[in-house]
């Protein structure tokens, strides 16, 4: 089969595949929006799925192509299992909720074998995310903004190991165990709040001076605006990033831990978290610039309706 694809092929192929998989899962129709303003895959309650746009003549590797397929499968799991009515106003809890919800829906999807290759596909997806995170310069695994992402990886039993800051492991082990007991999105939200409480109550306070972070006002919802996403992954950190193959967490048999980067810090109500959702973005020269947006073609003024108003009720999932 092909090793590389043209951007236009990927868009049409992935879109067609999304419809087929959606139909095969017995789900209501989705609409694909190729947007140059998003770097993560997302779907909202009305079935509008956002994917990072690709230039027509971009050369896309099979690995990235498979990653796009992984996104649509992941997002369709949200379409199948997630109740979008349950959410939190607090950004940090929202990211914890996203992390736990992702773990929950993927475990259910894999157990139900919703697509024949769902396990390896999602394993590859999270594997690429972890590889990028581990390779990111200046990644501080002890920073509180990373905890939801670390939980999102740790809870996926098929994911490669990531460094888990000291003190987080007991909380995450318990959270991962409780995910199996969840029956709905409301349950995962309750669990997210429990994790948030643990992170606030059982960890020592951060001795470092607080730094102002853009867009971390309480009640703000960064996920509401796809345009907010680019730039989040490159945040500065302490630059520890120790990695060391260390096997799984003792006794839990679930998530895997790659090393001990240092002590975890207490989460405060002012903290925000990094995006936990799978991220997709072509290489800088290949990302889209609005050359093709099937959503805008099908629905005139789509951009104005969605992006022009923050009151649009959809969230990144």
């Amino acid at each position: 089969m092909k090793r590389t694809f043209r951007g236009w092929e990927v868009r049409t192929g992935v879109e067609a595949a999304a419809h087929k998989i959606c139909s095969d899962m017995g789900l209501p129709t989705v609409r694909i929006v190729w947007s140059s303003k998003v770097s993560t895959a997302a779907i909202n309650s009305s079935g509008k799925m956002y994917l990072a746009d690709i230039r027509d003549d971009a050369t896309i590797s099979r690995a990235l192509f498979n990653r796009y397929v992984g996104y649509i499968v992941h997002e369709l799991l949200h379409r199948k299992y997630t109740n979008f009515a349950y959410n939190s106003d607090k950004q940090y809890i929202q990211q914890l909720h996203n992390a736990i919800e992702d773990i929950w829906i993927e475990r259910k999807g894999i157990a139900a074998k919703l697509t024949g290759n769902i396990g390896p596909l999602l394993t590859e997806l999270i594997g690429q995310m972890v590889a990028e995170a581990l390779a990111a310069p200046g990644m501080d695994w002890t920073a509180v903004e990373q905890y939801p992402f670390v939980l999102a990886v740790f809870g996926r039993r098929y994911a490669p190991p990531v460094p888990v800051a000291q003190g987080l492991l007991p909380i995450f082990i318990e959270a991962s165990s409780r995910v199996d007991d969840c029956a709905s999105t409301s349950d995962t939200l309750v669990l997210a709040k429990w994790v948030y409480d643990q992170l606030q109550q059982t960890l020592p306070p951060d001795p470092r001076p607080a730094e102002p972070k853009p867009g971390d006002q309480p009640g703000d919802k960064p996920g509401d605006k796809p345009g907010d996403q680019p730039g989040e992954e490159g945040k500065e950190g302490a630059g520890k990033g120790q990695e060391g193959p260390q096997g799984g967490a003792p006794g839990d048999g679930k998530g895997k831990v790659a090393g001990n980067p240092g002590k975890a810090q207490r989460v405060t109500s002012a903290d925000t978290a990094r995006e936990t959702e799978p991220g997709a973005r072509p290489a800088p020269g290949d990302s889209g610039s609005g050359t093709y947006d099937i959503g805008s073609v099908r629905q005139p003024y789509h951009h104005a309706n969605t992006y022009g108003s923050s009151s649009q009720n959809w969230s990144l999932k």
């Binding site: 089969m1 092909k2 694809f5 236009w8 092929e9 990927v10 049409t12 192929g13 992935v14 879109e15 067609a16 595949a17 419809h19 087929k20 998989i21 139909s23 095969d24 192509f65 498979n66 796009y68 397929v69 992984g70 649509i72 499968v73 697509t115 024949g116 290759n117 769902i118 396990g119 390896p120 596909l121």
Partner: protein
């Protein structure tokens, strides 16, 4: 090994009388030897004691004027026995003498010698007995071995006979072969009939007839009952050129009901649906199962009415109407006629069909009135249910004239087999494991989704599944998918099927199942 006295006696006794007598006279000229027994006893004693040997006796020449040697074996045996007994007596006498001498002190050496001789004799006799036993044992072993071989042979023969007894003769195959042979033999006659334009007349005389009526359950494996709850019976014909049955063919009850409805009512059926849903093969397998002839007429953009109905031509200076494949089949009882890809042909060129497809039709064409022969069934097949196609997937198809479609009482939309039946069919055709067939069929079913809503991606058919699985025996999994499923698609649609591959095809599972 030294010979025993008895053995020596036996050997000597078998020599000619004259030779023995001459040897005895020579060995002891003073002895008054009167009989062969005495001569044998003397010579044996001498040989046994080592004074002479048997070769010396055998070397003695027979006197020319001597008596003829005994030839009577029975008499010789009697003589031998006499000789043996005489020699034995002499040996006993010698032994007795030796014994008596042994009691005398002055004859101790002689007694000892006699004792050694006796011991030697005893040993020789014992050794002879052992040798005899060994020979008997060896002979017994050989016999036992031969018996074992014989038993093996018998077992082999029994097995062969047994296997011959279990060989099943496929009557259908035999019948097909016989039919083919007969058809070959009658080929010249058939040609002559066609050349004479008399196939309709001959066909009605010599054509296939209904030879049986059986329940659908017996023929198709599906019990079909009519509205009154009675079993629907199937007409069984005896057409010699009926196609061969595909043992792996899976019948759908829904389709079968229409076929059975049509079998005796001159009802024409229109089969529509995606490629690979079994439209053409359904017609062919129905003919095969019911012993009917089968004729498939493929239509194309430039098909003219003359191509399939017939046209006039010059034969021997005269204008003669030459019936086309449709008319010939139409006149042959039992024939299932499949008008395949009929929407590819221009509407006007199909117009002649209208008259023929009427019930109880009698159409004047080519200078004769043409009637549907008994049992003729007409099916049309296309991908668009007669509506043509604007999507480009079935390029070249056109919308059918409604008057033609109206001749087909039922328009049946063929779907892909239900999942379980498709898995069954794949397992039957490829011999793969059920788990592998389920895995691949799941992916293919996902790939088929949305096709009917205008998605340009064509639906991979069961042929693609079978080709993919067969390809796995030698091709890498990706290559098998690419060539069996993806390659026939335009580029953007092919990408969608590659995405389906990524989402559905688990290479680890496949590798395990084909190992």
């Amino acid at each position: 090994m030294a010979q025993s006295l008895n053995e020596i006696i036996r050997v000597v006794a078998l020599l000619p009388l004259k030779q023995v007598m001459a040897a005895a006279a020579k060995a002891n000229p003073v002895a008054n030897i009167q009989t062969k027994s005495e001569a044998v006893a003397l010579l044996a004693d001498l040989i046994y004691r080592g004074t002479t040997d048997i070769s010396w006796v055998q070397a003695q020449k027979i006197p020319a004027d001597g008596a003829a040697p005994l030839k009577n074996v029975a008499l010789a045996n009697v003589i031998d026995q006499t000789v043996i007994e005489a020699a034995q007596r002499r040996a006993d006498d010698a032994t007795a003498k030796a014994d008596r001498a042994g009691t005398e002190a002055g004859l101790a050496a002689k007694a000892a010698s006699s004792a050694v001789a006796v011991a030697s004799r005893a040993e020789a006799v014992a050794l002879d007995a052992v040798a005899g036993v060994k020979a008997a044992a060896a002979a017994a072993d050989v016999t036992a071995a031969n018996l074992a071989l014989l038993a093996d042979d018998i077992r082999t023969i029994r097995e062969r006979v047994g296997s011959l007894a279990t060989v099943k003769i496929d009557s259908a195959t035999v019948a097909t072969a016989v039919a083919a042979a007969v058809a070959g033999a009658f080929a010249p006659f058939k040609k002559a009939v066609i050349d004479a334009g008399a196939e309709a007349a001959v066909g009605s005389l010599a054509g296939a007839v209904v030879v049986d009526r059986k329940p659908a359950l017996d023929i198709f494996g599906i019990d079909i009952k009519d509205c009154k709850g009675n079993q629907v019976l199937v007409d069984i014909w005896n057409a010699s050129d009926a196609p061969a049955r595909d043992a792996n063919w899976i019948w759908s009850e829904g389709i079968l009901r229409y076929l059975l409805l049509a079998q005796g009512t001159e009802t024409n059926l229109w089969f529509g649906g995606e490629r690979g849903t079994g439209k053409s093969d359904t017609a062919k397998q129905f003919a095969a199962a019911t012993g009917r002839s089968f004729v498939r007429i493929n239509f194309r953009k430039h098909t003219a009415a003359e191509d399939y109905v017939g046209q006039g031509g010059l034969v021997g200076g005269s204008t003669v109407f030459e019936p086309g494949s449709f008319l010939r089949a139409f006149a042959a009882p039992s024939t299932v006629i499949l008008l395949d890809e009929v929407t590819m042909a221009p509407g006007g060129e199909l117009a002649p069909l209208n008259g023929f497809l009427e019930p109880s039709s009698a159409v004047s064409y080519g200078g004769a009135v043409r009637r549907r022969a008994p049992g003729v069934m007409v099916f049309a097949a296309d991908n668009t249910l007669g509506n043509g196609d604007d999507s480009g997937r079935y390029a070249g198809t056109g919308t059918m004239n409604s008057s033609l479609i109206d001749r087909f009482s039922h328009v049946i939309a063929f779907k892909h087999l239900p999942f379980a039946q498709e898995v069954d069919a794949v397992v039957r055709h490829t011999g793969c494991t059920r788990k592998l067939a389920e895995h691949i069929c799941s992916a293919i079913i996902a790939a088929r989704a949305k096709v009917e809503t205008g998605d340009i991606v064509d639906a991979p058919s069961i042929r693609s599944v079978v080709a993919f699985i067969r390809g796995l025996s030698i091709l890498p999994i990706e290559d098998a998918w690419a060539t069996a499923v993806v390659a026939r698609q335009p580029s953007e649609s092919a990408t969608a099927l590659e995405a389906i591959y990524a989402a559905y095809i688990n290479t680890t599972l496949i590798a395990r199942e084909i190992a």
